[in-house]
Symmetry: D2
Subunit: 132 residues, 4 copies
């Protein structure tokens, strides 16, 4: 796990599971988002505060590989690394790993940008510093 810039431990909640008894596809995006926001908060970037100031961090592309399903009772970590994708884009590489056997359940690449109050892409200074 030492290769991630940040890891967050979480557990499956029963309401996140669907008819098939497994975590619903969309819920993994919630897990990934929560881990990204916690990571950003830890490095001093607050998603909610930025939003209140008219600066919106937004996802422009998500690629998700669903390898194995999480189930009720499972405990897992979300590991992530972040890197610059282009001048105005950054990418999170994120893995969801089941704790009982360290298996990767979901692999995600989430590409984002930041929009200023006028809706134009503009990476805020604190994020720019983080990426360089």
């Amino acid at each position: 796990m030492s290769d991630y810039a940040f890891t967050l431990e979480m557990d499956v909640r029963d309401y996140e599971c669907d008819i098939q008894g497994i975590v619903n596809n969309a819920v993994y995006q919630n897990y990934l988002e929560h881990a990204r926001h916690e990571y950003l908060k830890q490095v001093g970037i607050n998603f909610a505060e930025l939003a209140r100031n008219g600066i919106n961090l937004v996802v422009v592309r998500a690629e998700l590989d669903y390898k194995l399903p999480l189930m009720s009772g499972d405990r897992f970590i979300v590991g992530l690394t972040m890197q610059r994708e282009s001048r105005i884009k950054f990418a999170f590489h994120q893995d969801i790993i089941r704790l009982t056997d360290d298996k990767i359940m979901v692999k995600g690449k989430i590409i984002g940008t930041a929009l200023n109050p006028k809706g134009r892409p503009a990476i805020p200074a604190e994020l720019d510093k983080l990426l360089s």
Copy 2:
């Protein structure tokens, strides 16, 4: 719109919007899933019934391009086409289109398979027929 095998009209619900006042990323996956299930139901394939019989349609990969955000009050359609991706995989190409201006908000490619009661990939006959 004539190029889609199926379209479903929906509208944004306020609880689907987040702090930024726009539909949360994960919610689009809900929209896409609901449209896929409605399409399958229309062609005689019932996701919930299959699940009760131990046959699980599962997503193995999702690629989502977020182009513009839906907001409170927006009405939209989800258009989809389905095609075979490999012997045991199928792909849905899905667009979310805002009705006021026909702009594409999200483009998705969702690749799925079916797992039999033993958890092995096996396309059920009715789905196999649909794909050929």
Copy 3:
């Protein structure tokens, strides 16, 4: 159904169902909220717009009687009436009714108020008019 001030037709989406194969408890609150917001919009009161202007319609109490569970594929209506509960509170009486047999699935009484930008209860004029 003629006794409701407003009705909204909706259908269960598979992702709203949980491990038990029935709609999860919390989801009914989403249904009820969506119906309230659609009703308010119809009478000229826009929840999202009010929020952007610092006026927040908030729920202060919810009473929900779960009589029968909705399941995948069910179509239903949410019927509602609204009345003044006190000088600064209003109440929605809401029923969720399955369309196949007109059975009441959930009965709700939702009491709300409005908070002005200072966070103090204050019913906006348009809502006040509606309640009198």
Copy 4:
């Protein structure tokens, strides 16, 4: 906090907040449910396992008093006590308490029962023992 039979510490996730920047009403029900299931699991009653065996723990009534809203970044505990409500019903008294100032944000009384595979109310032996 010593009066609760069980407490669970959680934190608000940004995707749980809505247009108003506060946790959406329905989400509190998720928090309360998760705490109930964790409590039951701790005393040897597994909601998901029971469901797989055709025994469904269901909510028949919920009363929720929303006192103050949780916001992005808030950390809180859910405290609960459980008692028998009638021969076939049990009640959870649950508080959601913000950790920064120990203020009660939401108070809930959730009444439930258990349905056997035939759909009839029947409290399973392990739950019966817990309640007596």
